[in-house]
């Protein structure tokens, strides 16, 4: 076998759900919660020799106008528990859980992650997220989370924006200390951590796990988030899914590594991307347009509009023009979702587009929100993916199918073989652990 000539890409599968990417109205769409759905998607990803399977997290159901948002897929199992079960039905696939660093404690989470790493023989990963709003906090007994770590941000102080990352950074550092406490010959050593957010001591109950440290993923985009990733993460999950934005992001993040004594290859950059395949490029474009229409139903179009406008616009016709009235940016209309940007600016952009092209509300929303990243016949998509990776717009991709759980099958059957033929993606796993799939060095333990 010849050595791969190309930069190798990394692939992960996102189990979609709890968003309007998932086309739940499609008759092929199955349960979002039954284990069989998770099993199907994970097995498909492993069949495709993917690096890992990825689960997002939400700790409060989203609300719109003070009521539970009812248009999108909602409801999901708890990540680490599902992944522990998936470890039974997969052999090599990495298992990545998104778990909040705000509403958890290092000792317990480090223990659960180390357990998953043992149970999966070295395939665990943790996507550290930092959502810390008071809205989510209402599900957690200790309002102290906000007092201690996140209050400045909750109050909207620009200066302290990114404060959740101080807790997250100390959280990750503490978890690493815990993972390092056992001696190589398998005896626990007492540990003590004293910091700004945590003062804990005792003995960790789980021996060093197969990967030493489960893989750490970061998702967050602010300068503070990028800095945190550069200092502490193995993978960064981003939304920059276009070639230009990807390259800019890639250059920025990789440049931050040196000051932490790290090499560019120590942090893999993986945007979350969607795809639509067809027998011809034109056919794929057609189905992509149809999928967009299913994702942005008339009800969802009005909802998206209300989110930007911060007003009740339920009387507007989704097939009619955008409202004349101005947005109310301080309405607090939407709860539990990452903000989409400055509302007035977004509204101005939507208006301009709608006027220039004569688009209705629904058409405008379809045009402006989350369009598919890769559309075409398998050859087209494979070439584009390879171009992204070989020109350093990404190190790989976290694929978000629009159908659950069968939405990855076609990609694995039709695109993966092309990537393999062209030497851009592995044909077999060469290692056992997720770290080895990602080409990451094992963390050095303490003697």
């Amino acid at each position: 076998m010849t050595a791969p000539t190309r930069k190798q890409m990394h692939l992960a599968a996102h189990f979609p759900g709890v968003n309007n990417t998932t086309v739940w109205t499609d008759p092929r769409s199955k349960s979002q919660i039954e284990f069989s759905s998770f099993e199907h998607l994970a097995r498909t990803a492993e069949r495709g020799r993917f690096d890992f399977f990825f689960l997002a997290e939400g700790l409060r159901l989203r609300e719109h106008k003070g009521r539970i948002h009812d248009l999108d897929v909602v409801g999901r199992p708890e990540s680490l528990t599902v992944l522990s079960a998936l470890a039974a039905v997969t052999d090599r696939l990495g298992l990545a859980a998104t778990v909040n660093a705000t509403f958890n404690e290092p000792y317990e989470l480090a223990r659960r992650l180390a357990t998953l790493d043992h149970l999966s023989d070295g395939r665990a990963a943790w996507n550290v997220v930092t959502s810390s709003d008071a809205f989510t906090g209402e599900n957690f007994r200790r309002g102290g989370y906000l007092d201690r770590a996140d209050l400045p941000r909750a109050l909207g102080s620009a200066r302290t924006r990114g404060t959740p990352y101080t807790r997250a950074a100390e959280f990750v550092a503490t978890a690493r200390e815990l993972w390092d406490t056992w001696t190589p010959d398998g005896t626990p050593r007492p540990f003590r951590h004293q910091g700004q957010h945590f003062t804990i001591e005792g003995e960790f109950t789980v021996p060093r796990s197969p990967q030493g440290h489960p893989v750490v993923i970061q998702a967050g985009d602010s300068p503070a988030g990028r800095e945190f990733a550069a200092s502490a993460a193995d993978v960064i999950f981003t939304r920059h899914g276009t070639l230009e934005a990807g390259r800019t992001f890639y250059t920025d993040v990789k440049a931050r590594l040196a000051k932490y004594g790290r090499q560019p290859e120590d942090l893999k950059i993986m945007p979350g991307v969607t795809f639509v395949l067809g027998d011809s490029d034109a056919e794929a474009q057609e189905s992509a347009a149809e999928i967009r229409r299913q994702q942005i139903s008339p009800q969802n179009a009005i909802l998206a509009l209300e989110q930007v406008w911060g007003r009740d616009l339920s009387s507007y016709d989704p097939d009619g023009p955008l409202p004349e009235i101005d947005p109310d940016p301080d309405s607090g209309l939407v709860q539990g979702r990452v903000r989409i940007g400055h509302q007035l600016a977004v509204a101005a952009r939507w208006r301009a587009l709608s006027e220039a092209k004569g688009l209705s509300i629904r058409q405008t929303v379809i045009e402006t929100t989350g369009r598919q990243s890769f559309i075409g016949r398998p050859e087209t998509v494979a070439s584009e993916l390879i171009e992204f990776v070989s020109t350093d717009a990404a190190d790989g991709f976290i694929l978000v199918p629009h159908l659950t759980p069968g939405g990855l099958d076609e990609f694995v059957d039709r695109v993966v073989p092309l990537l393999q033929e062209r030497g851009a993606f592995r044909s077999e796993y060469t290692g056992l652990t997720l770290r080895s799939h990602l080409g990451l060095a094992d963390p050095v333990g303490k003697d």
Binding site: G58, P77, A85, R112, N139, R141, F198, G202, T205
Partner: protein, 355 residues
């Protein structure tokens, strides 16, 4: 004395800590071959061992019928997380989950978290009871048919079938609803060790299965009657409760055990529920206590799981089955079905139906 019905058997599969999944899968499969109601896996932050809930989630797809009951401590873990994780175990096992609620009483455990000092057991059990309460409310916070996928109106869920729990306990509050839809069993089975002391009230009020300690059938019968009376005082139907005697068993002397059918029966340690002897005599003891209406069953903790569980299944259980005192196959699929417990009605749906 109220009559017991079918005999229920459960076994602990912990022991010296193991971290590889295969060890636990093999033990759970062994117990499943004996058609046991459930296996438990003990846990605590204080001693070496993996996270029990994760271990039994790993075991779930590798087994088919047996109930899976990890110990989940409530003192340092968020009630919302507890509720989500147990509900998820129920989803991944298709209705075979339970949890054995416990508390962390030591200062050493408190220092692992650094958020609060150790508190008296009574206080922690009150909190554990509140955790069990809020967990059940969260499991009900989605009605079973909340997911509607109504294409015409574009609604994935019927938001009127989702409920805020607005729980206010002494040490925490939870707004809800859950993020995990109502689990297959409605409520996964709650197990509480409730022999006297501070866990007694939480057990009577919230447990589906209460573990008790007794050294004689008369004593067990008395404790069972007491648990049932307390449950009734909380407005519960005592028949929705299973009382199992917790027995530590050492079958290491099986080869030298007395002949089966011995009148005197096997020895029990004086102070605790400890059985040492052969598997056949253990079957005798189980049959005798159950026939006397003293208990609904037994929770057996083998001293050496690999050895003793094998002897329990191939010796004790086989004999009980041979005498038609214990099931030879699982007639149902969920842990509640094994235990003969109904799937709980949803409190919010009931409230609506009444209005």
């Amino acid at each position: 004395m109220s009559a017991t019905n079918g005999l229920h058997l459960a076994a602990e599969i912990g022991g010296p800590p193991h971290y590889d999944a295969r060890h636990y899968v093999e033990l759970a499969r062994l117990a499943e071959r004996g058609a046991l109601d459930f296996v438990t896996l003990g846990d605590s932050f204080a001693r070496p061992g993996p996270d029990a809930l994760a271990v039994l989630s790993r075991v779930a797809p590798a087994t088919r019928r047996i109930g899976l009951v990890p110990t989940v401590t409530t003192t340092h873990t968020e009630p919302f997380h507890v509720s989500s994780a147990v509900a998820t175990l129920d989803w991944v096992s298709r209705g075979r989950a339970g949890w054995s609620a416990d508390v962390s009483t030591t200062e050493a455990e408190a220092r692992l978290f650094g958020r609060r000092s150790a508190a008296p057991a009574a206080e922690l059990w009150r909190e554990a009871g509140e955790t069990a309460d809020v967990a059940a409310r969260l499991w009900d916070s989605w009605e079973d048919d909340a997911e509607i996928r109504d294409v015409a109106t574009g609604r994935f869920i019927d938001r009127d079938k989702l409920h805020y729990v607005d729980f206010e306990g002494a040490t925490f509050t939870v707004r809800g609803p859950a993020i995990v839809p109502r689990p297959p069993q409605g409520h996964p089975v709650t197990v509480i060790d409730g022999t006297g002391g501070p866990s007694q009230e939480a057990a009577a009020r919230h447990a589906d299965v209460v573990l008790v300690r007794a050294t004689a059938p008369e004593q067990a019968a008395g404790i069972r009657a007491d648990v049932r009376r307390r449950a009734a005082a909380y407005g519960r139907d005592p028949d929705t409760l299973r009382v199992l005697v917790a027995l530590t068993v050492d079958l290491g002397d099986a080869e030298t055990a007395p002949e089966p059918g011995l009148e005197s029966g096997p020895p029990l340690a004086a102070g605790g529920s400890y059985y040492r002897g052969g598997p056949v005599d253990l079957a005798e003891l189980i049959a005798r206590w159950h026939r006397a209406g003293a208990v609904d069953g037994f929770h057996l903790t083998p001293i050496t799981p690999e050895r003793d569980l094998e002897r329990i299944v191939n010796g004790t259980v086989a004999l009980l089955q041979h005498r038609s005192l214990f099931r030879t196959f699982y007639p149902g699929g969920t842990l509640r079905e094994h235990l003969g417990l109904a799937r709980p009605a949803n409190r919010y749906a009931l409230a609506e139906a009444r209005t």
